[in-house]
């Protein structure tokens, strides 16, 4: 193959903040003091935090250097399965930083915040339309927070019905946040196994669904990148027993404008704006996890809700059945602006196109790599495909080794060891913003690595060799945790 994308170059070491600086420096322009000082009672004052004192140039170099030890979507392909690492358009960043939005106080009177309320009102409608649901709350701050909110809605629903239930069905392919969210609401997750095709069978659900089960939590498309074909029948079963269907919509990027979740019996679902709707991940957040519901659950949505009253927008609190609040204010407003901008600049046709190309890219990789890597489920996939290290076991090369070696080739590794149903899973989600050329390079790189696995396994065991640090000892980190300097 031609020269790998990854190479090495000069970068700079940088010590920890408190190993730098000198007392008396300051990187902040202290405002002029225009009032007399009036000292607070000694009783109440401490000696102040032990922060280093740095100049502006100290701070700028520190973070400029650190940034160069990082890899982002802007650096290269980041096929992290289940995370939808698509390109985040720069214009969306610009919109979110408009002073009117960025510096607005959350408790401004509605008369002074019409722009923000209008944007939120419209975004709620767009998301309801995209999912085929009836109403939306933007308050949850991330996917898991959306799950929690959704389960709280289910809880409120059953409570109102007068008969609370104790369990929620969760398939074995579910993301860890699903059972965790279920448990947070006092429900017991009931595990159902996906079938040999990697999806839920009607029978499996029928077997466990009963009157004490509040509902089911299905990720669709699921974490194997497969569409849950039986979802409608499953929904019927669940509904028949008075349960509700929760859809984890983290993988909505596969089916925008194609599948209407509302039509397949979903009662409540969350979206990840920081995945499907292109808002950047910021190295782990902030995200935004709106929840969309069918009308039967609307009364329970968190307050305040943005409503329109003859052309004006107001925040309404008066929903007696509401679950209350899941965030202090309105949720990740700054993130919503970016998702809103994305939807407005894409329009209906391009959103659908995006899903089609995301699925095309994933299937293309699946087809071109399945000879090289063991493919867990050899069926048409949606936005991602899941391989494993099965074929490399002989050479004692693991999924982790191959992941680390990919770094040397200039690619961020896929998600590894998830979903748990595939042992040594390698979960590849390219997203639609990767061009055929990028994807071909990724495929070549993976093939080259699999060759190395055969010919020179230690190259992989020792990987990565090009990063600023060699492979890090995560076990030691957990054994004797050092969490602060």
């Amino acid at each position: 193959m031609k020269e790998s994308v990854g190479t090495t170059g000069l970068i700079l070491n940088e010590s920890l903040l408190w190993e730098k600086g000198k007392k008396g420096r300051c990187g902040f322009s202290l405002p002029r003091r225009d009032v007399e000082s009036c000292p607070l009672d000694e009783e109440l004052t401490g000696k102040g935090p032990d922060f280093p004192d740095l100049s502006e140039v100290d701070v700028v170099r520190h973070y400029t250097r650190l940034s160069q030890w990082n890899f982002g979507v802007d650096t290269g392909m980041y096929p992290l399965g289940s995370c939808t690492m698509k390109y985040s358009p720069k214009t969306n960043e610009r919109q979110a930083s408009l002073p009117g939005f960025a510096t607005a106080h959350p408790l401004l009177p509605a008369s002074l915040s019409q722009g923000a309320l209008k944007m939120m009102f419209e975004l709620e409608q767009y998301l309801a339309e995209i999912t085929g649901m009836d109403a939306t709350t933007l308050q949850p701050a991330a996917g898991a927070h959306g799950e929690l909110t959704g389960i709280l809605l289910i809880y409120a629903f059953h409570k109102k019905k007068g008969a609370q239930r104790s369990k929620i069905i969760v398939p074995d392919t579910a993301h860890g946040t699903n059972p965790a969210s279920v448990a947070l609401c006092g429900y017991r997750p009931v595990l159902v196994r996906s079938n040999e095709q990697g999806i839920l069978s009607v029978e499996a659900v029928a077997e466990v669904m009963d009157e004490d089960t509040a509902g089911i939590m299905v990720t669709n498309p699921n974490t194997l990148g497969l569409f849950e074909e039986n979802s409608q029948k499953i929904a019927e079963i669940v509904h028949a027993k008075g349960g509700l269907v929760y859809c984890d919509g983290a993988n909505m990027n596969a089916v925008m404008g194609i599948v209407q979740m509302g039509k397949i019996g979903v009662d409540v679902m969350h979206l990840n704006l920081h995945k499907t709707f292109s808002t950047p991940h910021g190295g782990g957040g902030p995200g935004s996890g709106p929840v969309c519901v069918k009308s039967e659950l609307e009364p329970f949505l968190p307050v305040p809700r943005v409503i329109e009253e003859n052309g004006r927008y107001v925040l309404a609190e008066d929903y007696p059945e509401s679950v209350g609040k899941v965030a202090a204010f309105h949720g990740s407003f700054g993130v919503m602006i970016k998702a809103y901008s994305y939807i407005r600049t894409m329009g209906p046709k391009n959103l659908k196109k995006a899903s089609q190309l995301a699925v095309l890219n994933a299937n293309y990789i699946k087809e071109r790599l399945k000879g090289t890597l063991h493919l867990a489920y050899d069926r048409p996939c949606m936005h991602e495909c899941v391989f494993s290290d099965e074929h490399q076991k002989a050479a004692k090369v693991t999924t982790l080794d191959m992941a680390k070696r990919l770094m040397d080739y200039g690619f961020h590794p896929p998600t590894v060891y998830f979903p748990l149903v595939v042992d040594g899973a390698i979960m590849v989600e390219p997203t639609e913003t990767e061009s055929k050329e990028e994807i071909d390079q990724f495929i070549e790189a993976f093939k080259a690595i699999v060759n190395e696995a055969r010919q020179d396994p230690d190259r992989l065991h020792d990987a990565p060799k090009r990063c600023k640090v060699k492979r890090l000892d995560e076990v030691a980190a957990a054994r004797k945790p050092c969490l602060a300097g």
């Binding site: 607070l40 109440l44 935090p49 701050a141 965790a180 409608q232 190295g283 679950v323 609040k325 046709k349």
Partner: protein, 443 residues
């Protein structure tokens, strides 16, 4: 389309490899009746330039400084943010990376968050801090649940002077759990009535906010003692992190957990979010903490490096037994806070906090002079409660016309406090701004 790189030929050749005829065939497994019929009913796409016009128009309808002077805090504070912080935070290696699951290629984020954890712990006087939570309210809710896990008790006591919206979030989180929340009333001087604790038992935690929602500084030490007498955890909550540049920190007052909102530390208010949930504790509770933690380790060559650690607490390993369901947190906000704390520095933050306090005192004094009542006489930091005369609503509206927002009305949260307003003054308010406010409320 700008963001869709595929050309016609690309699509054709890729479809061939996949072995289907057209893009729709990729979805043949999707049952007919699950499909969308026709296009989504959304507005047609805008060009980048149409978007600019549209968003500028929306943003112009918002009341923000310098045009407006907003004397509102109540959990969201206006503080200056250096241009250097905004620039650095915008570097795409930070912005466009995911949670650092692959540490060798994420050392920038990891060292920066490790530094954030350290500075956060130092600010609060605690031993360790988490990598971030969604906001101050969810950090408090998670802290209370953590106390319940740790103590195996089912009841918590929270001050009624904790931010009312935080208390609503706690209520929402607790609803399905069956755990009990009892609220502590407040005294005439605007601090929590700790006496009420005396005849409470089996408390998992006592949570008090300082400065509290009225802006008053609580006697944390007393709270700590009472809580510990009852073998309950002492949770110190806060909405204005900058206060600890000047005040005794929670740790020094015996807090087991300190949690709250870090927005003041270099994060734009952005209509309330994204924010920064801060959560810190003593080492003792390390393995019970909710949320992500970054730890120091070594690489194969013995070189220092950083990784996400103690994952066994977390949902992706522990599933339903995890200490929390949180996954994505507010990492970039934590990074902003770290950059901000590093820029202000130890010497700077103290002077900055002083300035906040002294300016608020100035406005207090001027309002008193003007004949208004400062309801509570306990010391405050940069917020305080004023009682305005009956019919102030009209004045309030008039001030809005004049592009002044004279604080937040307390009545919705404390019906007994009709005509009471919570005012906030930070370093961004000049003496002239404050004099103008006083002039207007008087007239």
């Amino acid at each position: 389309m700008l963001y869709l790189p595929h050309t016609g030929e690309d699509i054709v050749s890729m479809l061939q490899v996949v072995g289907v005829d057209d893009l729709d065939d990729l979805f043949s497994i999707v049952p007919e009746d699950c499909r969308c019929k026709g296009d989504l009913n959304l507005p047609e796409q805008l060009s980048e330039w149409e978007l600019n016009d549209h968003m500028e128009a929306l943003s112009h309808s918002m009341a923000v400084s310098p045009e407006y002077r907003v004397f509102a805090g109540a959990g969201s504070y206006e503080h200056f943010i250096p241009a250097s912080v905004s620039y650095l935070l915008g570097r795409s290696e930070f912005v466009t990376s995911y949670t650092p699951y692959q540490p060798e290629m994420s050392q920038g984020t990891l060292q920066a968050i490790y530094e954030y954890q350290t500075l956060a712990a130092r600010l609060l006087g605690m031993e360790i801090a988490t990598a971030s939570h969604y906001d101050g309210a969810t950090a408090l809710a998670e802290s209370l649940l953590m106390a319940i896990r740790v103590t195996r008790r089912k009841k918590v006591a929270t001050s009624s002077l904790i931010h009312p919206l935080y208390r609503q979030v706690v209520k929402t989180y607790f609803e399905p759990t069956g755990y009990e929340v009892v609220e502590l009333g407040y005294l005439k001087n605007g601090v929590t009535d700790l006496a009420e604790l005396d005849d409470m038992d089996d408390l998992a935690a006592v949570a008090v906010q300082s400065p509290n929602f009225f802006g008053c500084i609580e006697n944390l030490q007393a709270v700590g003692e009472k809580a510990h007498d009852k073998e309950a955890l002492f949770i110190a909550s806060f909405t204005e992190a900058l206060a600890y540049g000047l005040l005794k920190n929670p740790g020094s007052q015996g807090a087991d957990i300190a949690c709250g909102e870090g927005q003041s530390l270099g994060i734009p208010r952005s209509f309330g979010g994204p924010a920064l949930g801060m959560l810190a504790s003593t080492k003792k509770f390390m393995r019970s903490l909710p949320g992500r933690l970054v730890g120091q380790t070594k690489d194969l060559d013995g070189k220092r490096g950083f990784v996400l650690t103690l994952a066994t607490r977390e949902q992706h390993i522990r599933r339903e037994k995890a200490t929390s369901n949180i996954c994505t947190n507010n990492s970039l906000c934590a990074l902003a806070a770290a950059m901000y704390m590093a820029s202000v520095g130890g010497t700077g933050i103290r002077e900055l906090a002083r300035l906040n306090h002294d300016k608020a005192e100035y406005l207090k004094k001027e309002l008193k002079k003007a004949g208004f009542t400062i309801t509570f006489d306990s010391p405050t930091f940069n917020e305080f409660v004023v009682e305005f005369p009956d019919g102030f609503e009209a004045t309030y509206e008039r001030l809005l016309e004049k592009k002044i927002v004279p604080g937040i009305s307390l009545a919705p949260y404390y019906p007994e406090l009709a005509n009471h307003y919570l005012l906030c003054v930070t370093e961004t308010m000049s003496r002239d701004d404050m004099d103008a406010l006083v002039r207007e409320v008087k007239s």
